[in-house]
Subunit: 365 residues, 3 copies
Amino acid sequence: MATQAEHIGVTLPARYYVDPDVYKQEIDRFFCRMWVCAGRADQVSNPGDYFLRELANESIIVIRDNQRQIRAFYNVCRHRGTRMCTVEEGKFSGRIQCPYHGWTYGLDGKLIGAPHMEGLAREEYPLHGVRTELWDGHIFINLQSQAAPLAAQLQDLPQKFANWRMQDLRLYKRKVYDVKANWKFIILNYNECLHCPVLHPTLNKLTDYMSGDNADPNRGYVGGSMGFKDGVKTMSLDGKLRRDYLPCLTEKERQEVQYYSIYPNLLLSLHPDYMMLHTLWPKAVDRTEIICEMYFHPQEMAKPDFQGDDAVEFWDRTNKEDWSVSELSQLGIQSRSYTPGPYSARERLPHAFEQMILQREREDR
Amino acid sequence: MATQAEHIGVTLPARYYVDPDVYKQEIDRFFCRMWVCAGRADQVSNPGDYFLRELANESIIVIRDNQRQIRAFYNVCRHRGTRMCTVEEGKFSGRIQCPYHGWTYGLDGKLIGAPHMEGLAREEYPLHGVRTELWDGHIFINLQSQAAPLAAQLQDLPQKFANWRMQDLRLYKRKVYDVKANWKFIILNYNECLHCPVLHPTLNKLTDYMSGDNADPNRGYVGGSMGFKDGVKTMSLDGKLRRDYLPCLTEKERQEVQYYSIYPNLLLSLHPDYMMLHTLWPKAVDRTEIICEMYFHPQEMAKPDFQGDDAVEFWDRTNKEDWSVSELSQLGIQSRSYTPGPYSARERLPHAFEQMILQREREDR
Amino acid sequence: MATQAEHIGVTLPARYYVDPDVYKQEIDRFFCRMWVCAGRADQVSNPGDYFLRELANESIIVIRDNQRQIRAFYNVCRHRGTRMCTVEEGKFSGRIQCPYHGWTYGLDGKLIGAPHMEGLAREEYPLHGVRTELWDGHIFINLQSQAAPLAAQLQDLPQKFANWRMQDLRLYKRKVYDVKANWKFIILNYNECLHCPVLHPTLNKLTDYMSGDNADPNRGYVGGSMGFKDGVKTMSLDGKLRRDYLPCLTEKERQEVQYYSIYPNLLLSLHPDYMMLHTLWPKAVDRTEIICEMYFHPQEMAKPDFQGDDAVEFWDRTNKEDWSVSELSQLGIQSRSYTPGPYSARERLPHAFEQMILQREREDR
């Protein structure tokens, strides 16, 4: 048809968003075999500090050991398979003990106690480990033991965002959302602003949805920048700057926001004066838990008149608008009447994301 | 066995009521390929008025357009498949707009706006339509584009009930019930009064459950009439007439109630002075939503001393008794011990309904 | 590996605890084809007394008939398959009537009334029966009509526990727990006290977890005794004896508690001064309802200063600790990282139970 020339491609068939079997395959392909952003190194500042993360139906303990190394373990005792720890975050006092029969592990996962099993070869029963790597303060984990190093997945991102010195930033507030939509709808929504005039009246006053430059999409991420409207300094309820710029940004970096979807689960939003992280945790083909965190520079947070809620409240409002329309996407696409629709030139990034989904599926065949 | 001669047939095997696969087939056979009663023309009196109906997991918009024609559309934007409308009923101001990227449709479903897709051939992206037809004020919809006209399904019903002038009647009250029973149990229950002495003490004071004449069952409906006991004038808490008879009824029609199951989803109960409608909306093999509405003549409703609650409360009580025993039917039939049981001569109509179910299943093989 | 010699065996593969198909097979193998403890004869002291029990998705009526015989029936009317009775326990006044069309059965299950079905051969439509047998006050039911008598399943248990005269004891309190764990985790947990020092600080003050003698495990049960610590007389919050010993116990029987898992669903805990019963009612592969009841001697209960709550509260606390760790077992074993772990010599009984599970599975192939 002649009209095909007018748009750059079409949306995926519905099964990618509604078929539980496709979902299972994607959980394996993207969440079990890729590096997944699990949290931040400053969540486990001291030996024994830990947090739990649920990934692909697995409970994972992320912990800092006595050598200050960050490690991750399956939350499963090697004796009879008991889940050992149920408190979301906290501090182990030097050892991890199963509450059932008291098997005890060091912070490095080694079995150091097993009551009434004197002859047991303890070295054969350490906690099952999960690989961890760090990028500028972000902890990544990988359930696959043979995966290539994190650097291969991140490509040029470490250089690209070096000026934000992300590892120096500290958590201000966290909010968790339970969204009734496939995880890919969240990424589709994050990567275009064609919807901003209709869906986000507050946001649309701050940035020009026609502005910005996109990076060339690739198999590891998709993203780009957006510029502010006149007089706007950052993304917040009123666009005013209430904090100093992050210390090492260039003049250009002070004038825009970077929005990057780093596959499979990190949405990295770098502002002139703060960082926002979304991590996606798929729970079912039509349900995703989303953790949204706001990070500021510790020097700013130490100031007696520090304010951060202008940014927090702005993004909470915008988040809710996005989750709401993502849920409508989920409801609509399951219709027998749905057929793939046209992507405009303003939707190059969501289209590139969906093409990456297809490409990686082809590679697995 | 000799005893087989004493009853007219037996109930269906349990799978028709408990097997999710049979349920799916029936949803296709009866709810996607037959005309389904969706509501009433007076619910959409003016251009832009609409209501939503969920049928076979599809959200359908039923609307009156600017030419006063009643239309129905899948509630799915042609751009990226978003469900557009979530408010159950209301009025569109001349157009239907998707809340995501602002694609806009006329009340006739034509695409009239698609931001930043200037070259798009809009005529190729109208809302997907659903067929609609009217019968005496009832709106029927059909998800199958090749279905025969509604008249073929209704057969002689339009003449049979012409005297009630149903399109003149107006809604008084609506109540929605969520019943944990297969949709067919609701129809089985509706079509016999052998259970009335045991289950419905109030109703049983008004009508003689041995009275009435049944129409010959056929592939489109099953039903019959029931007469009042001495001194009873209508179905209500006390059986007294608080409204004039509907204007055009014969003397005989004033003496009885017509109870018709019009397949697949309309239970039409025509009283001397009012109309009751039940529409059935299957949600799962063991769950059905039921909308019950009471309609009176507008001349009666306009009277300052108009009363309708005697009928509303009577039927709400009777409905609840029927839903309760339908739920017990669902619970019992799933037992491994269940075997089809005998239908008596007083249960000819439920038996005919079940035979229709089998007949249409055979035709699809 | 050399270490294999140090332990007596390993835990079962995860599928026995997480696979819905294995669950279905086990429900058939253990709960539909074995004798299941349904309740107590004194719950139905008089003709017409009944209680309902849900077993393998079936609702069963357990009743005492006019000849004082205990019987059980599927709770399903032979007319149209309706569940007849929904009240958990009560008394039928001489007959069981279906609330739908009034079919009526005697307490022996015979059909004695079927309105408007004059010619029906009533003798062909009795309630479907379920076999019942008694052991010392316990009612057992069996859904399989060809099963061997209860005595074959119980083996030497009637002699072994004759001194407790269980049929003389009477119910004091009942508590129902809904536990998110496979039924077998409950039995695994019940049959070892290696976990007692870690999980049960209160219980561990009363009994020495290294004490006791186990009976030889067999295909019908697994169990053993545990002795009290010095100064402890029974299991209660403080270990003090507040009731006379049960009348016929030997000196040795006064010094210990008998803990027996009688397959598939009865945990029998015989104390010097009371009896505790747990019956297990699997609801899903990962969910079990547990009824816990405390029985005392009627002579004690008749005393004005009778106390039983010291035992009730002690076991309620201990139960909750056990259910909690059983739920952690369920959560942990579903991990992809789980591999069967080593059983120590202190875990012979859970190991024997799991071997019985495997043995009976092999026999069915």
